[in-house]
Amino acid sequence: MDEEEDTSRADVSGEVRLPATLEGAGPLPEAAEIVIVGGGVVGLSIAYHLAKGGLEDVVVVERGYLAEGASGRNGGGVRQQWSTELNIRLMQESVELCRRFAVDLGVNVWFRQGGYLFLARNAAEVARLEKNIALQNRCGVATRMLEPRQALEIVPELDLTGIVGASYNPTDGILFPWPFLWGYARQAASHGARIFTQTPVSGLEPQKAGGYVVHTARGAIRARRVINATGAWSPRLGAMIGVQIPTYPIRHEICSSEPLKPFLRPMVSELASGLYCSQSMRGEIVGGVTIPGHESTYGMGSTMQFLATYARRLVRLMPILGDIKILRQWAGPYDQSPDGNPILGAVPGHPDFFLACGFVGHGFMMAPIVGKLYGEWLTGGPPHEIFSRYTLGRFTDGSTPPHDKEDFNIG
């Protein structure tokens, strides 16, 4: 690194020449303290916090290009409206980290706290929201139940036909996902982490003295510890050393409209269909809908059925949007876990193999806090309770009581 190494935040001007964040085609290091497999937001957040915490020799290997997986394909929502206390508290901290991201990481991520508005179309949905709100309020999240006409004050474009209630938390928000990755990647690199894209892992070879040899298409790295942050592909990495991870990929589609003048403050979501949409800081309406019953697949194709279903539900909910044009649609994989919660911590019987997966489409919003907690733990701090609650072992030893199941994985 030369004298012009970036420690300031001057590159927004594009005038200061900076060291590359990504390593390009150069040789892999022979050894590393920690190899993080997966260069999505979860892996990069962990890498940043480990490197910033003083751990040298952190290496990230990403199979494809940066942002190729779900981290580059999500809707950018960040909310605290969850159904379990642990997830609510985690997301309170994640929102705070998002608020500080531009200052802490030196990249504008267009984080905007316009709130989240969940719409209910029947009494059961209202009851579900009310139950969650009581818990959220106890945690200090100011979610409140709204009458339909109050929802109209927040989003005047809504057609209230059939809407019987809504929950609204004004401090939920949205962000632009890609700069989040660049920010974490760049600051991880500036703290000494090395990030290799186009580097698929082909095998993990356990060593007698502990650790692994990580075999990749570009050579091998001896790693004292390995973190599996490969999202929907986590079961495949686990299978390389005989670890069964009970998650599976579900394709979710999403689309983006032409940019419009800002008019839509909150993320709007409808429980009945999983419909959601928000207006990004680029002005685009970004959203999706959950068509039930899809089989597990790694396929990321786009369908006309999705676009038609999204259009039908969205135009019904906000008729004025009928005239806006869709520019593009795409898809990404949720890493679906059996109880709706992530899988974290070391694997029983494999003390050097750590998991950061099973985020069920919400890895992006959880990555800031999960990366921070992982960083604190693996640089010598005490483990946060997520590492004893969200273990892989809970699926086999019954260590998590059933009421901890997260049932609010909407959109």
Binding site: G14, G24, K325
Partner: protein
């Protein structure tokens, strides 16, 4: 402004923006698309993709044939939601208006 070379007119992406992206290590055409925003406007790359790819090849010393186009995304052209909402293939939720060709509620009210 003098000497400014625009590669993507929809999103105002210049040659200098591309050079900046490459200097940071974002050299894959998919990374360049995301880092600069080129090809994400109304034309979805139909105008600018070849120009960016050509310059990317020159900047990175690759053969143009080594740079594939980024993944093209449907729809082919910007399409109004109202038109898409009429497609009979839409999934019907239990609370959707009945009938195979029921128009969106907004149009029924007209």
């Amino acid at each position: 402004m003098a000497g400014k070379i625009v590669l993507c007119r929809c999103e105002d992406v210049t040659l200098a923006d591309l050079e900046h992206s490459v200097s940071r290590g974002y050299r894959d055409i998919e990374e360049v698309k995301r880092y600069t925003g080129f090809g994400t406007g109304p034309c979805q790359g139909k105008e600018c993709l070849a120009a960016v790819a050509t310059q990317l090849a020159l900047l990175t010393g690759q053969a143009p044939s080594a740079i594939p186009p980024f993944t093209s995304r449907p729809p082919l052209a910007p399409t109004p939601l109202r038109l898409l909402a009429r497609d009979p293939g839409a999934y019907r939720f239990p609370d959707d208006p009945e009938g195979p060709d029921a128009p969106p509620e907004s149009e029924r009210k007209r």
